[in-house]
Subunit: 199 residues, 2 copies
DNA sequence: ATTTTTTTGTAGCGACCACTATAAAAAATC
DNA sequence: GATTTTTTATAGTGGTCGCTACAAAAAAAT
């Protein structure tokens, strides 16, 4: 194994870090929503000009897709984090709601959930479809997990959890702080346990 | 009382009905959000040209304000409707949630609540401020009513109700139908009763 | 050193944004 | 009928939108 070092690509090297650019775009889209962040601002913030932007990401929606994937693959995927720590359905859902209350207040204006609210009211059908697909994925994961204990009522119970998360995301975007969200999360958790135990 | 008939205003008569125009604008803003509806489309749908538009409403945000007031003054103000029928706190909140489940699926694409979601992710600070003021008004009404029975826990209980409504509005905008919303509303109602009765 | 490939910056595309200057049309008052 | 007042339609303002044509610059391969 001498020549494992892959040869450099042929042309001029990129002058910016793609992952870093996706991270910055993710933050901007999260803070103000898809439509409110223009390509000009993205380019300025990322330090790249339009041709480099389109060579790297294809389109504004292409960058949004990368940002959504990065978001769902990181610590913002609160259900995945709650699930990873193990436990029964009630425990994991309680953890999920608590993580939402901790994460959704955000910082630097990045409140709520990018997947749930990033493309809300967007005029671009492509952005709407991307966010919608990410939502379906997350909701299906919650539903399937709940179904392991309550297959009959999984749909209703998942709806309760998802509506709670959407409501908390919206409230956070409207300025609700961590204390208020934690209070709501605790009540939502009690509601979920009650419904799960077969009210 | 002979001359009670007020004299006609002096100039040329308006060729369109202002209230009807506000109604149409309300429907458009409700369906797609503030930013996604342009002045050109509004003018076309209302059958009026830009100068008439600005003479009547001052600005796009001015028309949005009229639409918000009309919305909050009508049957879309579900808490006011629930309150008008009387009853104790638990009864009125249950009615509010049930009305949300009935109203939020909407028709012709007008899903969710215009006040809660009409200016979400808007790039216009004026539209955001108008929607925010309407939200505060509605939330304060819920809080003050709950305070008549539970003054200590009114803030937390109102947060529970408002987060439930925001979540149901978001879910409706994402396509949730009436059956699903009613199931969620019933669970939220049980949660509220449990918290009100002092868990 | 020349060729080839990729990224870069400059400049600008047509389309749409909210909004307005101007003057003609339609009504009441004189 | 002439004057005054308001609304109308035509046309266009500067600005921003997402996106692209073009050629110079920077790298590897020859």
């Amino acid at each position: 194994m001498v020549a494992t070092k892959k040869s450099e690509p042929r042309g001029r090297r990129r002058s910016f870090d793609v992952d870093e650019a996706v991270e910055t775009a993710m933050r901007l889209f999260h803070a103000r929503g898809y439509d409110a962040v223009g390509v000009a601002e993205l380019g300025a913030e990322l330090g790249i000009k339009p041709p480099s932007f389109y060579a790297a990401f294809g389109s504004k929606a292409g960058l949004f897709e990368r940002a959504l994937r990065r978001y769902a693959a990181g610590e913002a995927n609160i259900f995945a984090r709650a699930l990873a720590e193990g436990g029964d359905v009630a425990t994991v859902i309680a953890r999920t709601l608590a993580l939402a209350a901790a994460l959704y207040p955000g910082q630097n204006g990045t409140a709520g959930c990018l997947v749930l609210d990033g493309a809300r009211n967007s005029a671009d059908p492509e952005a709407q479809a991307l966010a919608d697909a990410a939502k379906r994925e997350g909701c299906a994961a919650v539903r399937d997990f709940i179904a392991t204990e309550a297959p009959d009522r999984a749909d209703a119970l998942a709806d309760l959890v998802v509506v709670a998360m959407m409501g908390m995301s919206a409230a956070a975007r409207d300025g609700a702080d961590r204390d208020r969200l934690e209070r709501v999360a605790a009540m939502m958790d009690r509601a979920f346990r009650r419904e799960l135990s077969g009210a």
